[in-house]
């Protein structure tokens, strides 16, 4: 095997799937047969989905059937249901090498939080990456400068020279230049690792109203002119429902679809500053005329779906938080920005032994 590329992340929403997609395509372009392994912390959640997790579906399509798999490390003693039998660190390494023997490269996607993903305990991802002698691509979802810097520096130290690229993703656009100027020298000073900085872009972290209506599915009851409006998240909270939208506070299970956060005093509290970009009503009840009128007054779209509130919420979170084959535009935008910021033509330039 030529090598193992390990995608590590300091937290959820850091762009693991987008980076994995970019790496997989680059390897395929180089003619390197590649396998994809997802270290999943929740076997029920990952494997119970029809067709597997969204990442499994995506990478199967990219790399071919039989080239992807999910590994669930054992749970710690005392977890619900007791200790779940699973593979130890050494067994995972052996298993990966054996499974990947027909591939020239393995792409391993780690858990959401490399540092301390509790459900992955007692298998340490840091130990795993070291034992595999993997080339690590480290992703961070920006929350605050200090958090990003110290998390990344700590992980780089613990990985003992295995980091090949550090990517700080989702930096608020208005802070981008300042944060990049502050962080880049610090991150590169430690090991000379290339570092890239990607701003928060609505096209990467959102879906349009029309896409949400299609994927749930939901009916667009009011505000058809807003089908292209971008939705970044959803909330059950009532604080955002002000003015004519106060009416919706009484609607059981209604979801507030949020748009881009508006500038505010705190960067780390995005949902508090999010704007209402739409309302989604779950359940069998149809919207009443007052609701439609209120949505019109607030100039937002109103969607209705027959699913119950919890199922709809889970589906919506899944839709908003995962990358699918149809999201190629997101992959292209992310890749372009990343390569430009790294100053390379191909992401594999970060791993010279895989780069022809």
């Amino acid at each position: 095997m030529k090598g193992i590329l390990y995608i590590g992340s300091t937290g959820p929403g850091s762009g693991r799937s987008l980076l994995g997609w970019l790496l997989a395509e680059s390897l395929l372009r180089q003619g390197v047969p590649t396998g994809f392994v997802h270290l999943a912390s929740d076997p029920e959640g990952e494997q119970g989905l029809p067709g597997g997790s969204p990442d499994s579906v995506l990478f199967s399509r990219l790399l071919g059937e039989g080239r992807t798999r999910t590994i669930c490390p054992p749970k710690e003693d005392g977890a619900p249901g007791g200790r779940v039998p699973g593979l130890s660190l050494a067994e995972i390494c052996e298993d990966l090498h054996a499974w990947g023997k027909h591939c020239e490269c393995l792409l391993v996607m780690g858990s959401q939080r490399l540092f301390s993903d509790r459900p992955l305990f007692p298998v340490s991802e840091m130990d795993l990456a070291r034992r595999l002698k993997a080339d690590v691509f480290l992703l961070d979802r920006y929350e605050a400068e200090a958090t990003s810097i110290y998390s990344l520096l700590s992980i780089q130290s613990l990985l003992r020279g295995l980091t090949r690229c550090v990517i700080v993703n989702r930096i608020p656009a208005r802070e981008y230049d300042r944060e990049k100027a502050r962080m880049k020298p610090l991150l590169q000073r430690q090991e000379g690792t290339p570092a890239a900085f990607v701003p928060e872009m609505s096209v990467l972290s959102s879906l349009t109203v029309g896409e949400i209506a299609q994927r749930l599915p939901a009916e667009l009851v009011a505000g058809e002119e807003h089908t292209e409006r971008r939705i970044c998240g959803c909330s059950l909270g009532t604080r955002l429902l002000q003015g004519p939208l106060r009416l919706f506070r009484q609607a059981y299970g209604r979801m507030v679809l949020t748009g881009q956060p508006t500038p505010g005093p705190s960067n780390t509290d995005p949902s508090c500053e999010a704007s209402v970009a739409g309302i989604l009503l779950p359940g069998p009840r149809l919207p009443n005329p007052q609701m439609i009128q209120a949505a019109g007054k607030a100039d937002i779209p109103l969607l209705a779906t027959s699913g119950d509130a919890f199922t709809t919420l889970e589906t919506l979170q899944g839709i908003l938080g995962t990358i699918r084959w149809e999201d190629r535009l997101k992959q292209e935008v992310f890749s372009q920005w990343l390569l430009k910021d790294l100053g390379v033509r191909d992401i594999l330039e970060c791993v010279p032994h895989l780069w022809k």
Partner: protein, 269 residues
Amino acid sequence: MAWIRAINQLSSQEKQGLYRLLIAPELFGRFKINPLTFRGPEGAKRVRFYCPPYDPIALIEVRQDPSAREPLYSMQISDRPDAKTLEWDFLLVNDPDSPRFDIDVDEQGRDTLFGRANRNLPEERKAMEAGLFPGQVRSGLRLTRSTVGCIEHFAKTLSIQTVFLDALFYHNAIAYERLGFCYFEGFRRMKRIQEAFQEGGALYRRLDGSTPFREPGFQETIRGRSWAIHDGILDGLEDEFLADGWVSPRMYLMTGRHGSECTFPHART
């Protein structure tokens, strides 16, 4: 960082452990739900939690049957701007064995927002005659006191000093004041309602039997008053405090220091 957002960033196990405090304990025994696994005797999940890491809210829902039309217990809490206060967004309790009244939808199946946006009068009348309060689709399980105890315990555990809520209906406000909540906004309106329901008062005179929800004698009970107010008995009243009709009072509970405000002395249910 405020509490709910902080809790929501813990593992599922940890946050569900904390939010379990918000489930009235009677429910576990009565509906044979394992409080550790949240599953019923047949193994199906009966309790669901919605508490994602980036949302400052927690919704807890208990169902007798996963396919039931409505939960038997549903509670939502959310953060306020500071860590010392908490917002109690709503509580729904339904006795699944009691008859259902479709007061939540009109004849076309459209949401009535529990009768506050539009009304299904035939169903509301049947609900009232069956002893329900406005906004109820089924009888409750007499869990309000227990639930307030749960939320107070949860708040004390986290050193939260004050719990805020909006009392949607008149009977909710009376129930909460009896359980130690005070009025942050709306106390004078509630006092004025009490005065106007006294013999000869403006509201007393309007209990003229003109609708099934305005029968004479309704002034004597919490339920009667609540139905009359829900029916719009305050509308068009020339009164300094009641001119805007019914406005949900804003209430708060100081943990460990209950208030004793009373806007309906000697009330009967």
